[in-house]
């Protein structure tokens, strides 16, 4: 991906993944052909969705960190192209999404909905445009422009800059004496509108990497205390990996600590990496600093998730890869000069060639394999799940074909014997249906009612999170707890759904052999993973956090409704972002109260979904038994000639042979994947 040579082989490689994926699409196509209309217990729709998701899969990597931490240089060094402006102070509140595209383009979406598209332009033009949008203009470096933009984003416009507003800016930004710069604040604020404040910037470019499924996202700088704005927060929740960039010195970072403890959710913490940059500056002591960082942050992040890198050294390596010499780089890019001189010397001392040396000193050869492997571990296990499902489907197809062959043979031998065989199986099926009913009833006593695990967990979770909501001291903390609560709720429900699957699976497997021996009857296969998946989707619902706002008197024809003339009766619910308005305390209190209420509703909804999921299991089992019953009924009614029977047996045997061949391919494939 980001490196082509000189790196240690990781467990999972993005290039391998791409090949495996293609092979799986082939295997799935064959599976669908061989399966035809036969119900082999695998939910074909659910499997198709899995394949579709695989096709559209994207890996989101969020790059976060304070302004001036070196995020842009880091991204440039990852994408092997110096396209993000690095010599500017980033001012935008917008996310910059960077991804592979054959055709270079830059699309800017503004708060008003207006978009601007620059296509087919050289790198320099795109870079210049990015600089224009993202950088703080020279004149306004001493005022908090992004806070002003944010205010306009959330409130539509800013008509007056009074002392109260200036006080708010000072508090939020930590900048002092802004009152003296009132004229600047006014000049800036009055020139801004939703029409020229960008909210999303997309950069597609033919970067020199072969892997087009990664989307890198340059997050707006977190503030000095680690906080972020709402748009960034929702994105972090979706990201597959979060790279927090922090300069290697000072090693203690309040913003990182706060970012972990109060901003990102517990779930997102699992995807977090800490990248310490500028290692070239402190090259002699970098190992010591890394050890110190591991010690300081040991309670917050696992030591194997902390890396030390230097993005400039990686960029020099990329230049070397393009065929440039160190002399040429020195001449063309003066800012890299001192590093080239220093590290060239060091490389000679250590007997390394230039490329080898710069990639080694950059630290990226350690980071990238780990990152690749981390990003791919979930998609690889999805590949294995898909293969297992196809294999299970094939196995069931073989069973069904063999069962049919057996019946056809007995029909050929003796019609009466055949009918007796069917009757025997029908009797067995009746017993099986009754058995399944007992199993379902047993499941109900375990999984529903006041003594069920889900009820106990929900009661405990509710009180635990009420307490956290109430004790939270600011909006960021509250937002984090709410998402944590949602994630925990989903986990509880999913765990219970998994347990139901396990319960049914075990129970049905227990009796499987008995029914096969006694009645020649095969227990129908049930695609529990598909049931689990659809239940999971049903419960993984995210609730918006809402708050009350007062509608204008002209809004919604309110002036025609006398009872709406009073401001207090014109409230409506709207979805909130994080609205850091001047009376933040009031807003926070209201939000807190509303959260408690909406949390109760979410729990109720989840419980309901779980109960529906349980019903879904019941229905799925019953439906399969019903299908089996009508299959036997139809067989009984059908009278076939011996020629017809021979032909059908031949076709079934041919199918079995084809399936067995596919199963062998899958088994070999799975072996390769699990190596």
């Amino acid at each position: 991906m980001f490196l082509d040579q000189n790196i240690k082989k990781p467990n999972f490689k993005l290039s391998d993944y791409k090949i495996y994926k293609q092979q799986i699409f082939e295997l799935f196509k064959n599976y669908k052909d061989l399966r035809g209309d036969l119900n082999d217990g695998i939910d074909i729709k659910s499997l198709e969705t899995r394949i579709e998701n695989l096709k559209n899969n994207q890996f989101l990597i969020a790059v976060a960190g304070e302004v001036k931490a070196g995020k842009s240089t880091f991204i440039n060094s990852l994408i092997k192209e110096e396209i993000l402006p690095t010599d500017v102070l980033q001012a935008t509140n917008a996310l910059i999404e960077i991804f592979y595209s054959k055709r270079p383009y830059l699309k800017v979406t503004y708060a008003s909905g207006k978009t601007e598209l620059i296509e087919e332009s050289p790198k320099e033009v795109l870079k210049e445009k990015l600089k224009e949008i993202a950088a703080i203009p020279e004149d306004y470096r001493d005022i908090p422009v992004n806070l002003i933009d944010l205010y306009i984003l959330e409130n539509g416009e800013l008509n007056i800059i009074d002392n109260e507003f200036i006080k708010y800016l000072e508090e939020k930004s930590g900048m002092e004496n802004l009152r003296e710069l009132k004229y600047k604040l006014e000049n800036y604020a009055f020139s801004r509108s939703r029409d020229n404040i960008p909210v999303k910037i997309e950069l597609g470019y033919p970067f020199p990497w072969e892997f087009d499924e990664i989307r890198l996202v340059d997050m707006p700088g977190v503030n000095a205390v680690g906080g972020i704005h709402d748009i960034s927060f929702s994105f972090l929740d979706k990201a597959n990996a979060i790279l927090f960039i922090h300069p290697i010195k000072p090693i203690e970072s309040e913003s990182f600590k706060r970012f972990i403890s109060s901003v990102i959710t517990n779930k997102s913490k699992e995807n977090l990496f800490l990248i310490l940059t500028h290692s070239a500056v402190f090259f002699e002591e970098k190992e010591r600093l890394l050890e110190e960082a591991k010690r300081i942050y040991s309670s917050l992040i696992s030591p194997d998730r902390i890396f030390i890198v230097d993005s400039v050294l990686k960029l020099i390596y990329e230049d070397l890869e393009r065929g440039k010499t160190l002399e040429e780089i020195k001449r063309e890019q003066r800012q890299k000069r001192k590093w080239i001189v220093y590290f060239k010397d060091l490389a000679e001392e250590e007997g390394l060639d230039d490329k080898e040396a710069f990639i080694k000193y950059s630290g990226f050869e350690k980071l990238i394999p780990v990152l690749e492997s981390f990003l791919l571990s979930a998609p690889f296990s999805e590949l294995i799940t898909i293969l297992e499902l196809i294999k299970a489907g094939y196995k069931e197809q073989i069973n069904i074909h063999q069962e049919t062959i057996q019946l056809l043979q007995s029909q050929k031998k003796n019609r009466e014997e055949f009918l007796a065989e069917i009757e025997k199986r029908q009797k067995g099926l009746k017993k099986l249906e009754t058995y399944c009913y007992f199993v379902l009833e047993e499941a109900a006593t375990i999984f529903i009612g006041v003594h069920s695990p889900i009820e106990n967990s929900l009661d405990n979770l509710k009180i635990n999170y009420y307490d956290k909501f109430i004790k939270s001291t600011d909006i960021e903390e509250l937002r984090k707890y709410y998402r944590d609560a949602e994630n925990d709720l989903n986990m509880i429900v999913q765990e219970n759904i998994r347990n139901i699957s396990k319960f049914f699976k075990e129970k049905l497997e227990q009796v499987g052999e008995q029914f096969k021996e006694e009645y020649n009857i095969q227990i129908p296969k049930i695609d529990f993973s598909a049931i689990e998946e659809s239940c999971r989707k049903a419960v993984a619902k995210k609730e918006e956090i809402t708050k009350e706002v007062v509608e204008g008197i002209v809004e919604n024809w309110n002036f025609l409704k006398p009872w709406k003339w009073l401001k207090s009766s014109r409230t409506k619910k709207v979805v909130v972002g994080v609205k850091e308005v001047i009376d933040g305390e009031v807003f926070f209190k209201t939000l807190k109260n509303n959260l408690i209420e909406s949390f109760i509703d979410v729990i109720e909804e989840l419980r309901d979904q779980f109960y529906r999921a349980f019903e879904f299991y019941k229905k799925s089992i019953r439906k399969l038994l019903e299908e089996k019953r009508s299959y036997l009924e139809n067989l009984k009614k059908e009278l076939k000639s011996n020629e017809r029977i021979d032909y059908e047996i031949l076709m079934l045997e041919k199918n079995i042979a084809l399936i067995e061949k596919e199963v062998k391919i899958i088994e070999g494939f799975m072996k390769g994947l699990s190596k």
């Binding site: 009746k430 017993k431 249906e433 009754t434 009913y437 007992f438 009833e441 109900a444 006593t445 529903i448 009612g449 006041v450 003594h451 009820e455 009661d459 509710k462 009180i463 009420y466 307490d467 109430i470 009350e548 007062v550 009872w563 009073l566 401001k567 207090s568 009766s569 409230t571 009376d583 305390e585 009031v586 807003f587 209190k589 209201t590 807190k592 109260n593 509303n594 408690i596 209420e597 109760i600 109720e604 419980r607």
Partner: protein, 239 residues
Amino acid sequence: MIEPKTLKQIEKRLEDDISKEIELIKNEIFFILDKDLDIYFLREFVKQYPRKLLKEKAEVLLDTLLNYLMKEILEKIKNMHIEHQHKFFKENLRDKIRIEALSENGSFKPQPIKIKEEEGLLDKTITAAPGIALSAGGIIATVAIPETITLKAIPAVSTLFGPIYIIKKLKDKNRRLKKIWKKQVNSYLKLAKNDLKKWLLDVEANFLKDLEFFHKKISSSLESSIDRGSINYAKIKNT
């Protein structure tokens, strides 16, 4: 099919479950009430949530009752002829009873809770704080709250710039109000507990009726191995 003694045991367990669930609701409400939250929010919370939680728990208790009853029946059914077992399964008793119990006519409908509103609280705040910079339309609007207003917007107004002595005064008042509300919630839940019990016993009676009907059906069509004398024609208990 269920012996009176067993039935009594089920009812005893159910009663314990009801008490435990009511206690949980009470704890949840009191937990929130004990916190230093806005009094207007708390008023709304106390007005709405005990009822809401009761409805929720009623459904879970219904499943619990059906679990108890079905467990007993299935023990008996397991010893019957496979045809009877199959017929019972086709009867789908649990779902039938559940649907009836949750239907518009059959469902549990807790009464609304009546709590002390203390309307004077707001008026006094205003008269005691002349000259306070009140946000336009904010508290003034609360004096003439129309029936339709949701009270969620009011906390935002009520916390605006108040002199400390008023806050103190309000806090004392709030403490008193909270005490009164707790008492009211307590008595409300006591009454609700009886209603809930009555509703669940009605469900139980319907279940037993249907069970009896099933028994009659199978005894007339096939030779039954059931001991008819053991069937409990439970009287509907409404206490």
